[in-house]
Subunit: 633 residues, 2 copies
C-alpha cells in the first residue's frame, strides 16, 4: 500500500513537514497550496528535497471553484489551471485535486459540468497532469461521491478522474457500497479521514474535528474493503484538518498518522482474508498484515518512580503491601499483595519520556512520584512488541544481565513505558526471583486481590493518539468519553478496556491552561486502583496503620442518603471509614482514595457487580485534591 | 434589578465562588448541588457566610427527574424532595429548580404531571420552599417553556411556578413573545444565557458553549423586554456552562458576568424607554441605565512600552516618524506622522497587567516591546470612564502634575490600558504640548496619514470577555471570527470596529498550548497598522533608511499571479518592495510588514476601497515570523 499524508495535517514549515513525514515512514505526501505559498523553497528545490527523502509528491491541492462556472469565470479558471499545471511540472506532481464548487454562484447543469471537466482535461493533458474531481460534502450542487463520479464518466477524458474522501462520503450519510462498482482506472486518488460522530454542520466538523483512522467513529475498514474490491491500486492518503494536530509536534503527529494507516491496513486485510484467500477479491493495494494482536490477560506489574522512597513505601505498607524484595542489579524494589505487584524505582527526578506534566508547572521539581511503567501479561509478548514497533512505537532501552528474564517494552504516546510480559505458568511471574522473592512468600489470602484499573493522564494534544495506541497495539476497546467537573475545569475521561475486562485503563484529559488554582492539567494526579472484596476491612487496617486518606466532606454523605436512600447505619460506617459509594444497574461500589504523593495516589475499590469507575464521586475527589493543593501553595 | 449567578458558571471551591461573586457586586447566587456536595462547609455555615458577604442564596438547583414519573419512582422523588427541603431550610434558600424529565422513561401525561407538580407543591409548602419548574430543551416530553407554564397553571398550587431560561427557549427555536402574557406571579425564577449560533445538538451546545449575555448571538434584549412587560420583578440570574469559564480565574469571570448583566439592563432600558416613559409598561425590574456610550471618533495615541528604546525609535524613524518630543515629567516620548501618534515609554520590563504572554514563556524575559496602551478620542471622555467603571473595569492609576491634561483610563481584560481622551478642537490634541511639541511642527503632508487598525492578542480564557468589554464600554461592533492557519496552529481573529470605522481593533486568539515551534500563543506578536495613500513610496523610503522588512517568499508572488492575474510589472514592483496584495469586491489592498521587535511589529497599509484586513496574507506572515523565531532559538 502506498501511504501518503497531506501537509495540511501537520504543524511547522513545509520543510519540517516533509522531513517528519519521511522519517515516520510514509511513501508520499500531498502538497497543500498554502504550505507551498508561504514557503521560501522553490518548487524545483522542493521536488529535489522530497526525492532525497524518498517521498513522492502524490497530489497538489486544492484547485477551488474551478468548475461548474459561467463562461467568463471558467475562462479565468482555465488560465489558473495553466499556471497550476506549470507549477506542478516544476514540482513533479502529476495529480491535481479539483473540488466541487461551493460558491452560491455555482452552475447546476450536469452537461455543462461534464463539458467543462473535459476542457479542463485538455489543459491537464497539455501539462502532463491529471485531475481528480472530488465532491465536497458542502458542495453547492455536487456533494455526493456518486454524482462526482457520474460527471467524470460523462466528461470522458483520460486526464479526468475522481478523488474519494471518506469524510465527505460518510459525513453526508453517503453509501460507500458504490465504490466497489467504480472503474478503478477512474479513481485517481483516495483520501481517508475519520471523525467522532457529532451533530454539527459538516463544514465545521470537517475543518476542526477530523482525526486519523481509528480515532473516530467512522467505519473505514468498510471503505477500504470496498476500495480493494474495486481494484484500486493508488495512494491511500490522510487528509485531516484538526485543531490539535496543527499545534502538536510534527514528528509525533506523523508517527500517529502512519500508525493509523498500518492499523487500518491490517484490519482491512483481516476482514478481507476469506475473499482474498479464495481469489474472489484481488488485493491490488497489497495490504500487509501486522503481527497478530495479543490482548492482555492481566497486569504483570505497575511501576512507580519516586524520589520519596520513604513516603511511597510507607503508603504501600499502610495499604497492606509486603516488600517482596530488592532487585539484584537495579535500584528497584517490588511490593506485593494478592496479584498486585508494584515495582518501586528510585529516581533522581522524572525520567518519563513525555511527562504528562509540563516540568515548568510542577509545584516541586524535586519531589516526584509517578506511574512510570505498565507491565501487561500477554500470551505472545514477542508478537506484541513486534506489532508495537511496526506501528511506530519506540522501544524502551533496557539492560539485562545474563539469567534475567528478557522484558521488552515501548513508550506509549503519553510517555509511560509499556512492557510486554508473558502470562505466568504458575500463580506468580518468574521475574520475581530476580528480587529474591520466594514462591512460598506469596500471600494467598490478602485483602487486596489485584489491580482493578490504572488511571493515566494524557496531555490534550495527544489524547486521540493515546486512544489509537492502546487500541492498535494492545487491542483495548474504548468506551464513550465522559466529562467530570473539577474546580479548575472539566476533566475528560475515557476508559480503555481489554475484551474480557482483565485490563482497564482510564485515560484522563485534564485542562492544560487552567488558571484557577493551577491544579488540574498542571499536575493532574494519576492513580492505581486496587481491587478488594472487603474494602471496609482494608480501610480499617489502613486507619490503624496511620494511612492518610483523602477526606470526604459531610455534605457528600448527606447527599448519599438523598440520592440512594441509604440507611443511617450504612452511611455512618462509610463516613467513619472515609469510603465513597456509588451504584449502577449491576450493583454497588465502595471505594476510598489516599492522599496524593507526588503526582500519584491510590484507590481501593470493592465492586459488588458494579461496572463503572465512580465518575459521580470524581468531583468530590477533585475538589478535595484542589483544596489540599491550594493549602500547600 | 436583583442580579444573581449560578455557582456552576465559576471555577474554584464554593467558598471561593461566593467571595468572587460578592466582590464583583452581584446581589445573589444560585447554589448548584454538586458545588455544595463537594464542599466541607456545612449548609448553616454557608448561609452565614453568604449573609456576611451580603449575598442572598436565590436558588438551589437542580432537582432532576423528579416529575413525569411512574408511581414508584415518584414516591422516591417525594422522599428526595423532603430531604432537599430540609437542606434548603438549613441553607435558607426558598426556591428549588425542578427540571423537566430527560429520561426515556418519562411519562407523557399532562394531567398526571400537573397532579405530581401539585403533590410536590404540598411537600414544598411543608418546608416553606417553592418549586420553579423548567423545560429543558432536551426534555423527553416537556421541552418548551409554554408547555412547562401550562403544566404549572394546571398544577394550580401557590408553591409551584415556572423558571424561564433564555438558552432553553431560544436554542430550541421557541418564541419568547408568550412571556409577556404570563402571570408574573407564576414566574418564580429567570436564568439568562447567551450562546454563539451553532449547528450542534442542544445538549452539547448548552453544556460547553453557553456564554454571558452579549457574548453570543441570541437576542436577550428582546427576552428581557418581554419580562419587563410581563411585570416580572424577581432575580435575573446567569447560568452559563462554559468550558473556558470553568478554568478561568474566578474573580474575572464574576466581573465579566456582572458586566454582561449591567450591559443588558442598560440596553433593555434603552429599548423600552418610550414605553416606560409613556406609562404603557411598568418597569418592576427597576432597570438602571449606564452613562451613555461614546463611540470613539479616532485614535488619540497608541503606547509602546519597550526595553529596546534604540530599536523601537529606529523602527519608527525608518517608517518616516518624527520625534515630537519628550514628556516634561515622565520617561515617555512621542513620535508623530500624519495623525498617527505613537507614545514610547521606557520600561524595565513588562508592566502590562495581564500579559498576553505567559511570562514563563517569553523567549527573552529582559527584552520587551509591547502595545501597552490604546488612547481613543471621544466626545465625552468622562462618561466613557464612568461607564467603564460601572461595567466593572478597574481604573489605571496615573499621576498628573498641575497643568497637565487629565487622562483617565481602565484596564481592558487583555491587560491593555485603555485611555479616554477628548476629540481635539484643532488638528492635534492639546496634550502634545506636554511633550514640547509646537503646533507648527506637525507635518501636513506625511506619507503615513494615521492609524488604520491595531491588532491585540487575547488569551483564550478571556476572548469572550474581551469582545464584551469592547462592545459594552466603547460601543464597538464585532464581525464574525475567522481562523487563520499558522505553523503552530490556528489563530482566531475577530475585528471590533466603531460604527463609522474610525477605530478598528482586531482581536487575535492564538493557541496557547502549541508545542510546535513554541511560537504562536506563546508570544503571538501584536501589531500597529499604519494607513498610507502611497505605501509604495513609504516602502521605498523605508528601504533607503534600512528598515528590516518581513521577507515575503517568491512562491507567494507567483501565486498572486495565479490568483489575481496580475501582470508581471505590477508583481515585480510588489516583490521589490516586499509588498503583499489582496483584493475584495470593494477594491485593492497593498501592505507590508516589518520584522518583529519584542512582541510587536508594524504594518503599513494602503486601502484602495478594500475593507478587509489581508487575512489571506496572514499565513504568509505567520510562517515568516515562525521561521525567524526558529532561527533565533
Amino acid at each position: 500500500m502506498h501511504t501518503s499524508i497531506a501537509t495540511v495535517c501537520l504543524s511547522g514549515t513545509l520543510e519540517e513537514k516533509l522531513e517528519a513525514v519521511a522519517s515516520a515512514g510514509f511513501d508520499g505526501v500531498e502538497i497543500f497550496t498554502q504550505d507551498l505559498v508561504v514557503s521560501p523553497t522553490a518548487p524545483e528545490e522542493l521536488r529535489e528535497r522530497a526525492g532525497d527523502l524518498g517521498l513522492s509528491l502524490d497530489l497538489y491541492q486544492p484547485f477551488r471553484n474551478g468548475v461548474e462556472l459561467d463562461p467568463v469565470a471558467f475562462d479565468d479558471a482555465l488560465r489558473r489551471l495553466h499556471r497550476t499545471g506549470d507549477l506542478m511540472g516544476r514540482l513533479g506532481t502529476e495529480t491535481l485535486l479539483v473540488c466541487s464548487n461551493v460558491s452560491p454562484d455555482a452552475v447546476a447543469d450536469d452537461d455543462l459540468v461534464a463539458e467543462q471537466l473535459h476542457r479542463m482535461g485538455d489543459v491537464a493533458a497539455e501539462h502532463g497532469i491529471r485531475l481528480a474531481y472530488e465532491a465536497l460534502a458542502w458542495g453547492t450542487h455536487v456533494n455526493g461521491h456518486d454524482h462526482a463520479h457520474r460527471l467524470v464518466l460523462a466528461a470522458d477524458h483520460p486526464h479526468v478522474g475522481t478523488c474519494l474522501d471518506s469524510f465527505h462520503i460518510l459525513s453526508a450519510g453517503g453509501d460507500p457500497s458504490s465504490i466497489e462498482e467504480m472503474d478503478p482506472g477512474r479513481i485517481f486518488f483516495v483520501q481517508l479521514a475519520d471523525a467522532p460522530l457529532m451533530h454539527l454542520d459538516p463544514l465545521s466538523w470537517s475543518r476542526h474535528h477530523r482525526v486519523f483512522p481509528g480515532e473516530g467513529d467512522f467505519d473505514l475498514v468498510d471503505v477500504m474493503a470496498r476500495l480493494v474490491r474495486s481494484g484500486y491500486a493508488g495512494p491511500i492518503s490522510l487528509e485531516i484538518f484538526n485543531d490539535s494536530f496543527r499545534q502538536a509536534d510534527v514528528h509525533r503527529t506523523a508517527v500517529d498518522g502512519l500508525r493509523s494507516l498500518r492499523w487500518l491496513e491490517d484490519r482491512t486485510r483481516a476482514a478481507l482474508a476469506p475473499e482474498i484467500g479464495s481469489g474472489r477479491t484481488r488485493d491490488r493495494l497489497e495490504l500487509q498484515p501486522l503481527p497478530a494482536i495479543s490482548a492482555p490477560s492481566g497486569w504483570d506489574f505497575v511501576e512507580l518512580r519516586t524520589t520519596d522512597l520513604g513516603d511511597t513505601t510507607r503508603l504501600l505498607h499502610r495499604l497492606g503491601f509486603r516488600l517482596g524484595g530488592h532487585h539484584r542489579s537495579k535500584e528497584v524494589q517490588v511490593w506485593l499483595q494478592g496479584s498486585a505487584r508494584i515495582v518501586v524505582s528510585e529516581a533522581g527526578g522524572s525520567t518519563r519520556r513525555e511527562p504528562h506534566i509540563d516540568p515548568r508547572e510542577r509545584t516541586d521539581a524535586h519531589s516526584v512520584a509517578e506511574v512510570s511503567g505498565l507491565g501487561f501479561e500477554l500470551s505472545d509478548p514477542g508478537a506484541a512488541f513486534q506489532r508495537s514497533t511496526a506501528l511506530g512505537s519506540a522501544p524502551v532501552p533496557r539492560h539485562e544481565l545474563p539469567g534475567e528474564a528478557p522484558l521488552r517494552g515501548v513508550w506509549a504516546p503519553d510517555g509511560t513505558e509499556i512492557f510486554f510480559g508473558p502470562t505466568p505458568d504458575g500463580s506468580a511471574p518468574g521475574w520475581l526471583s530476580e528480587f529474591g522473592v520466594e514462591e512460598d512468600a506469596l500471600g494467598t489470602s490478602d485483602l487486596i486481590t489485584g489491580i482493578d484499573h490504572v488511571n493515566v493522564a494524557q496531555r490534550w494534544q495527544h489524547y486521540d493518539e493515546g486512544v489509537l495506541f492502546y487500541t492498535s497495539v494492545l487491542g483495548l476497546g474504548s468506551t464513550p468519553a465522559q466529562d467530570v467537573p473539577g474546580p479548575s475545569g472539566l476533566v475528560r475521561s475515557q476508559v480503555m478496556r481489554s475484551p474480557d475486562d482483565a485490563v482497564r485503563l482510564p485515560l484522563n484529559l485534564a485542562p492544560t491552561a487552567a488558571e484557577q488554582g493551577s491544579f488540574v492539567g498542571v499536575a493532574y494526579p494519576e492513580h492505581i486502583a486496587l481491587a478488594s472484596e472487603d474494602v471496609r476491612e482494608v480501610a480499617r487496617r489502613a486507619i490503624h496503620r496511620g494511612l492518610e486518606f483523602l477526606e470526604i466532606p459531610e455534605n457528600y454523605y448527606e447527599d448519599l442518603v438523598t440520592r440512594f436512600g441509604l440507611d443511617e447505619e450504612t452511611v455512618s460506617e462509610l463516613r467513619e471509614l472515609n469510603l465513597l459509594y456509588d451504584r449502577d444497574e449491576h450493583g454497588e461500589f465502595l471505594h476510598f482514595y489516599t492522599r496524593t504523593l507526588g503526582d500519584v495516589f491510590m484507590e481501593v475499590v470493592e465492586r459488588r457487580g458494579y461496572r463503572g469507575f465512580g465518575a459521580e464521586d470524581a468531583p468530590v475527589r477533585l475538589a478535595a485534591q484542589y483544596r489540599l493543593r491550594s493549602a500547600r501553595t
